[in-house]
């Protein structure tokens, strides 16, 4: 990584942490995660034996719902704000490569995204302490779950970054990325409805919730890894194309 990348990353991460939105997101995420976690515990209390607390946690729907809304809010300002205030002109007339700018913005948002997941780990830690480690932590399923969260986050953030470069207007960017991410997420549910086995196969391939279920059960599958990574690269490249054409005038 170049020096420019680190300099830019530092400023991106700093800008996110200095914005009120970051702290609102962190608080909301902690609240909803906490609520969701306590529901999981309550569910376990009904005598469920075949699932671990983290499996239930990652399968519960409202955490996904949060993710779909959170990413657009996090990424909408990345480029839109720079175009709106004109700072993009200052940024791109410094000797930096477009690639460094895009990757640093992506990495800045991604770092904050990872930070958002810390409260959920704390929840698990508290759970283990309170239950005196009655059921030891299953490290592999736990690691795979967080790997999945990371991969999904990368794809969603790259979509958000891409829509941010499309418009000067943050609300427009947020709405666009919300739509793309929501469509991507909900399309998977069609696999419950279609009869044709070929289509069902295709739909399962992008069905995030099902992939998460198998990952949190400790079953690794390389297909989602390839899907999310290539999707991320695809949207980062699209971002680069749009930026190179500079269709927006600062």
């Amino acid at each position: 990584m170049t020096r420019a990348f680190w300099t830019l990353w530092k400023r991106e991460a700093g800008a996110i942490l200095l914005s009120p939105i970051a702290w609102v997101l962190l608080t909301c995420m902690a609240l909803i995660n906490g609520f969701s976690f306590s529901q999981c515990v309550a569910y376990l209390g009904q005598g469920v034996r075949e699932l671990t607390v983290m499996q239930i946690y990652f399968y519960i729907f409202h955490f996904w719902f949060l993710l779909i809304i959170l990413v657009p809010i996090l990424t909408m300002r990345l480029f839109s704000e720079e175009y709106k205030t004109g700072t993009i002109e200052m940024l791109l007339t410094a000797p930096v490569r477009d690639g460094d700018v895009i990757l640093s913005k992506f990495a800045g948002a991604f770092s904050f995204y990872l930070l958002l997941w810390i409260p959920s780990l704390l929840g698990l830690a508290v759970f283990q302490i309170v239950t005196h480690n009655a059921v030891p932590v299953a490290w592999i399923p736990l690691g795979l779950s967080y790997l999945m969260v990371t991969l999904v986050g990368m794809l969603y953030l790259s979509i958000g970054l891409f829509t941010s470069v499309l418009s000067k207007n943050q609300a427009v960017s947020a709405m666009l990325s919300f739509t793309i991410i929501a469509l991507l997420f909900f399309t998977g549910f069609l696999s419950y409805l279609v009869r044709d086995p070929g289509w069902r196969e295709v739909l399962t391939y992008i069905f995030t919730l099902e992939q998460m279920r198998s990952f949190s059960a400790g079953q690794f599958d390389s297909r989602p890894v390839v899907f999310y990574l290539s999707g991320t690269v695809f949207f980062l490249c699209l971002t680069q194309r749009v930026m190179a054409n500079r269709t927006l005038k600062g």
Binding site: L8, G86, E89, M90, T93, A94, P95, V96, R97, R246
Partner: protein
């Protein structure tokens, strides 16, 4: 330092710049003049590698655009119009960030930041958050940013726009100072600024270059000033006699005080009518109490070259 040939920039709606050619030599301070919307900012953005040109050859600071864009950006200091800055950063922190982006060596950063803070009169506000600074100080931060990597060429887009008269004055002094050991291209639509700071002006209008010359030569291109005289004579007769002179383009009566009458006499382009008018006054034996020539101002040049 800058060599531009046949530069054209087309937008979806039309042409912003139509095949302009000009050059700026090392050490020059050149004013880039034109009415609003003439294509000044577009040209500057192309020179800094921010916008791609539709057509034309461009060489800035010894590197070709767009092929060597990184090299060009490394060698120029650019201050965009309206000086966009990150409002949440502190002045010092911002300049350090910009210095690192512009590849100032790690060990030199603190020294460079201190130097440009001093140079731009920012030492007292170095710890302040940019968002809280006044327009004048923000403008200075923009200039400090352009200077941080000690570039040989400065491109300043309307550097004094929006400042109050005091700030404009001190800003001009600053630019004059900088011009001693740097090449500067600055755009403006304030003419007195060019007269005070620049050695040469390029006048652009509706995407085309109308003139590019030293200020003195530009002044020669329009009427070489008007002559104001005040004599004791018959107003109507004197006016007719003045108008009949071979090199006089026009006579306007300005004012009568008692028997005294004053005229503004304009010359035909490129002519000097002082001798001719003086001769007439002596022949006619008119008592004379005022005789002065108004120098052609850049404003006249500008208006003449850019009028519809």
């Amino acid at each position: 330092m800058i060599r531009v040939e046949n530069l054209t920039k087309k937008y979806a709606g039309g042409e912003a710049v139509r095949g302009i050619s000009f050059s700026v030599e090392k050490g020059e301070v050149v004013g880039f003049l034109g009415p609003n919307g003439a294509g000044k900012s577009t040209t500057m953005r192309i020179l800094t590698g921010f916008l791609p040109a539709t057509d034309g050859q461009i060489e800035v600071a010894g590197a070709k655009l767009p092929e060597e864009s990184l090299l060009v950006r490394q060698r120029i200091g650019y201050m965009p119009e309206n000086v966009p800055l990150y409002p949440e950063m502190r002045v010092e922190e911002f300049l350090e960030y910009r210095g690192r982006l512009k590849r100032v060596a790690r060990k030199d950063i603190t020294e460079r930041v201190g130097l440009v803070l001093d140079q731009c009169g920012l030492s007292d506000v170095r710890k302040k958050i940019i968002g809280t600074l006044s327009k004048g100080f923000r403008q200075r931060v923009g200039l400090a940013d352009a200077l941080i990597h000690n570039p040989p060429l400065l491109i300043l887009d309307e550097p004094t726009a929006g400042l109050d008269p005091h700030q404009i004055r001190s800003f001009r002094e600053l630019i004059k100072d900088l011009g001693r050991d740097r090449t500067i291209l600055l755009s403006t639509h304030i003419l007195s600024e060019v007269e005070m700071v620049c050695g040469r002006a390029i006048i652009i209008n509706r995407g085309k270059i109308e003139a590019s010359d030293t200020l003195a030569n530009l002044a020669k291109r329009v009427q070489s000033g008007a002559l104001q005289i005040e004599v004791k004579a018959d107003p109507v007769g004197a006016r007719e006699k003045l108008a009949k002179l071979s090199e006089v383009g026009g006579v306007v009566e300005l004012n009568r005080v008692g028997e005294w009458v004053s005229f503004e006499v304009t010359a035909l382009p490129g002519k000097d009518i002082r001798g001719e008018v003086d001769g007439l006054i002596k022949r006619e034996n008119w008592p004379l109490r005022d005789f002065r020539r108004e120098k052609a101002r850049l404003e006249d040049v500008f208006v003449e070259l850019t009028q519809e």
